[in-house]
């Protein structure tokens, strides 16, 4: 029917634009209680006493519980799902009992008849603390005088991990003509999905079944963790639903304490319970992103050939290990150090350290933007130091389009790409040559105009389960997909992927409509409910189309095969001679399309079962599990132009060009929008966003009054282009599209700002590139230019 490849309007939109989105916070149940959590105001403190008496006596309070109550009833510790060799995993209780290890660490919980009463009662809980010295800097956790935060994590270092060819790396550096050295900070970020996290739970006292609604990107893994590790309710009596979820960006992947506390209370007091985070609470409880300190070196030949990189990173894990935290700075980070380039000598190491800050885990891009930031900053500085154009230096080192599949020295095998083509397109849209000559002209009149370039690669669509297991994962990363054809010919598509803005209800319907040759309107896509889709792994790592979509394609194939069998039987032909017409949705004998059996008739026949081939089961309901053969490797060429006010240090983004290769595209409008959103989010990191902790572990940017989110007026219209090199190893030929915008724009804009400052001799500044930071740098070099101001006459 030709849905795939066209910009179909989203089928989910009518409910959202009319205020009918079904978010967790909207759920109201009879006899519901409302929860509020007492949280530590200290970054690090011993808890000596918790007095809940006054809170319990407050009118309208139903119950107050502490961590000890949970432990006494057998609640298990919060699990870590990624175990690299020799890892030391800190003990994390849903409510801490001995010490608070970050501001916001939960200590007690109130259940009340109204949320306002719960908020009042939380203030009546009296906790006695013995404040302890804190550490917030990833590189200072082993310093003299820094206390051990967890008894079982020696030197506050949870793990060390390295990857690469050390010998080749050393050789590259010993034979280098030029070496670039950089110390980089990739700052702490707060995800700030617009919907704060929430959890609702209902216990059925009679059947002993629990239903949990949670703002998760992956309800099926949450059910597994709740069942096997924390709450202990058997999976077959536990239903987890993630209905409409208002954005995730990684922060809603993880198993959170409130997902344990809420159902535990619902069962304990036999009343439905609801917890909804305030924004400020999200700031100190949602797992945060990035926070690396890195020493990076790049070896080059004098002609610009990149021969190696050597990277050491201290990754701040926060006060506990969040669910997938160890994955992010290891297998999602060092594996990307080859970038788009043919260099051989790649080696990296990481130290995962524990600090008195909110836990850190995946945040849009998750390890891969950190890697791109390191590599693409090094390349840019190298180009500057070698006197080469940054596009030319990159082109010189690209892996050629005929060299795929390409094995990198850091474990990955890139599937496909044409890096020259993406740069051809980006430089053409930008009119790069003119951009540079305009920049020269602007510079000659004292203006600080910068052009930034980035060329990024991403490993998306995690992951072959065996590979994930070998790298430390406790779970597999397949996806399940069901194509359920009803007797009337209507189709329900059930997927273990989860949409929290991506638009799966549209794109997956497009895929199946084309696979079966039916109308999109006859298809309903269902996700996010373990009661309907018991098995799945959810959405993150830009995996939904490549992994979830592929599972559905497999199920559609099974449906087609079954329909061919039924049609062959009815048309008295052999199955081998049957043709499934995917354009028209009918089956016929090769050479006789006029005698076709339409989809609807065959679907009905599958259920009427009056005339089925011998041995064929009735029904038309096919399930597949798809385990990807490899990651997919989206890649991009981005170009940004900025201008800096030399007097104030303010940065103005004047142009932004993005050309991405995300393989085949199912819905161009949606893919483009993913890139646009990603660009803004990456720009946020480059210019404004930062989670700032003081030395005691206080988060100084805990509300949206301090944490600067990107706003509409900060951006020009983005100029987007596309190159498609299909991924050869999944049936749709797709690659991930959700994260590349962020991965590429962060470093692209940083490079543009540094390019603007280059004539002043400023080599590197850490993000966020705030006006003050830039002004300080300009002042320090003592070459502050005077702004060109249009003065009035009469001078």
């Amino acid at each position: 029917m030709g849905y795939v490849g066209s910009s179909v309007k989203r089928v989910e939109d009518p409910r959202f634009i009319q205020g009918k989105g079904a978010y967790v916070a909207n759920i109201e149940l009879p006899k519901m209680v409302y929860l509020a959590v007492k949280r530590s105001p200290y970054g690090h403190a011993k808890i000596t006493k918790i007095n809940t008496k006054k809170a319990k006596a407050h009118p309208g309070v139903v119950a107050v519980f502490t961590g000890q109550d949970l432990i006494d009833s057998g609640v298990g510790v919060m699990p870590c799902g990624w175990n690299v060799p020799d890892i030391q995993i800190p003990v994390r209780q849903a409510l801490t009992v001995d010490k608070a290890r970050h501001v916001g660490d939960g200590i007690a919980v109130v259940a009340a008849e109204h949320p306002y009463i719960a908020a009042d009662a939380v203030e009546l809980i009296d906790v006695s603390y013995e404040p302890l010295p804190a550490v917030v800097d990833a590189r200072k956790t082993t310093d003299v005088g820094v206390p051990q935060i967890h008894d079982n994590v020696a030197e506050n270092t949870s793990f060390e991990w390295s990857l690469g060819d050390k010998e080749a790396c050393d050789k590259a550096f010993s034979e280098a003509d030029h070496i670039v050295d950089l110390e980089l900070t990739n700052q702490r970020l707060i995800a700030n999905a617009m919907e704060p996290r929430a959890c609702v739970a209902q216990w059925n006292h009679a059947t002993e079944e629990m239903t949990v609604w949670t703002t998760s990107q992956n309800p099926q893994p949450i059910r597994l963790l709740l069942s096997a590790f924390t709450l202990g309710i058997p999976e077959n009596r536990l239903r987890v639903i993630s209905p409409d979820v208002g954005g995730g960006f990684g922060s809603k992947i993880f198993h959170y304490p409130e997902e344990v506390i809420t159902p535990w209370i619902a069962r304990e007091i036999n009343r439905p319970a609801k917890w909804v985070a305030t924004r400020s609470e999200s700031s100190v409880t949602d797992s945060q992103g990035r926070d690396h300190i890195t020493l990076a070196r790049m070896a080059l030949k004098k002609d610009g050939e990149i021969s190696g990189v050597h990277v050491s990173t201290w990754a701040n894990m926060g006060g506990y290990l969040s669910t997938f935290a160890p994955l992010i700075p290891t297998a999602f980070y060092i594996t990307l150090f080859a970038g788009l380039y043919k260099m051989k000598g790649v080696w990296g190491e990481v130290f995962g350290t524990i600090t008195n800050t909110v836990p850190v885990d995946a945040y849009r891009g998750a390890g891969r933007p950190e890697a791109s930031y390191v590599i693409e900053r090094l390349v840019d500085v190298a180009a500057h130091e070698l006197g080469m154009d940054p596009v030319e230096l990159r082109r010189k080192n690209f892996i050629g389009k005929d060299e795929f599949p390409y094995q990198t020295p850091v474990a990955l095998q890139y599937d496909s790409g044409d890096y020259h083509a993406i740069f051809d397109k980006a430089t053409s849209i930008a009119n790069y040559t003119k951009m540079r000559s305009d920049q020269d002209e602007a510079r000659s009149s004292g203006r600080l105009v910068g052009v930034g370039v980035s060329g990024c690669i991403e490993a998306s669509g995690p992951a072959p389960s065996a590979v994930a297991g070998a790298l430390g994962s406790a779970v597999g990363f397949w996806e399940s997909g069901v194509v359920r054809v009803h007797p009337s010919g209507k189709v329900t598509v059930l997927t273990g992927s989860h949409s929290h803005g991506q638009g799966h209800e549209t794109t997956f319907a497009q895929i199946i409509a084309d696979e079966l040759g039916i109308d999109m309107g006859d298809i309903e896509v269902v996700h996010g409910d373990t009661g309907r889709i018991p098995f799945g792994m959810g959405t993150y790592g830009s995996r939904s189309a490549a992994v979830g979509g592929s599972a559905l394609v497999k199920s559609a194939e099974k449906v087609r095969e079954k329909l061919k069998k039924i049609a062959a039987h009815q048309l008295e032909a052999s199955v081998e001679d049957m043709v499934y017409d995917q354009k028209e949705g009918k089956v016929y004998v090769k050479g006789s399309p006029d005698k076709a059996k339409p989809f609807g008739e065959l679907a009905f026949a599958a259920y009427s079962a009056h005339n089925l081939p011998e041995g064929l089961e009735p029904g038309l309901d096919e399930t597949s599990f798809y385990d990807p053969a490899n990651f997919t490797f989206p890649n991009s060429a981005h170009i940004a132009q900025v201008e800096i006010d030399p007097e104030t240090g303010e940065v103005d983004i004047q142009r932004y060009i993005a050309v991405d290769d995300v393989g085949n595209v199912i819905n161009p409008m949606l893919v483009e929008a993913q890139i646009q959103g990603g660009i803004a989010q990456g720009a946020g990191q480059a210019l404004w966003e930062q989670g700032v902790y003081d030395e005691n572990g206080q988060l100084l940017t805990a509300s949206l009054m301090e944490y600067a989110m990107p706003r509409a007026h900060a951006f020009p219209r983005f100029e987007i282009g596309r190159v498609e090199t299909p991924s050869p190893h999944n049936p749709l030929g797709v690659k991930g599209a959700g994260e590349m915008g962020t991965i590429a724009s962060t470093v692209c804009i940083a490079n543009a700002v540094m390019d603007a400052l280059a004539p002043l001799g400023i080599r590197h500044l850490d993000m966020p590139l705030t006006p003050e930071k830039i002004w300080n740098a300009i002042s320090a070099v003592g070459q502050r230019t005077t702004a060109k101001v249009e003065y009035f006459g009469g001078d």
């Binding site: 704060p196 646009q676 949206l704």
Partner: protein, 166 residues
């Protein structure tokens, strides 16, 4: 202390006894069950909770229900008329002006205000008009596109009948 309030919401009279501290957004969501108005922050920054009070866009997390007593409120649920989407709603759908949908009701209601103040707002003016609304998904591009596109559509029927109270 509990006080009686009477508030017209989307053309229907509502009334209740409320604590003075009850925020308008919670009156709408919890008392009336109109959950289309979302709460995205606690510091009047994100604009997700935007509704129209007597025709003017306001952040309902920063208004007490008692302050809105006697006023006429439009929420996202009341924008479509007789089963027909408001032109701005339609434009958001046509131009993919939303992803997760959480900020969308606030964006759409703010857009009505931007276009009311300036029916010919250009892209730059629309971007500045959105100063009080945060979206994490879209990068704003398609939101801006939607609002600019909505201008060519017919203006919505005016619902608010009275002048502002404050």
């Amino acid at each position: 202390m509990k006080l009686p309030v009477s508030i017209a919401v989307n053309g229907s009279a509502t009334s209740s006894e409320v604590e003075p501290r009850l925020l308008l957004v919670h009156y709408l969501r919890d008392v009336l069950g109109l959950t289309g108005t979302n709460v995205g922050c606690d510091t009047s920054q994100c604009g997700s909770c935007t509704v129209l009070i007597d025709g003017e866009a306001v952040k309902s997390c920063t208004v007490l229900a008692v302050q809105a007593d006697g006023s006429d409120i439009t929420t996202i649920e009341g924008l479509a008329q007789d089963g027909e989407l408001h032109p701005i709603q339609q434009a958001f759908w046509d131009n993919h002006g939303l992803q997760c949908g959480f900020c969308t009701p606030g964006m759409i209601l703010t857009a009505t205000e931007i276009l009311k103040k300036n029916p010919r707002a250009d892209e730059h003016e629309v971007r500045h008009g959105l100063e009080g609304n945060i979206c994490r998904c879209t990068g704003y591009e398609n939101i801006v596109k939607s609002i600019v596109a909505a201008q060519s559509a017919k203006p919505a029927k005016k619902r608010a009948s009275k002048k502002g109270a404050a």
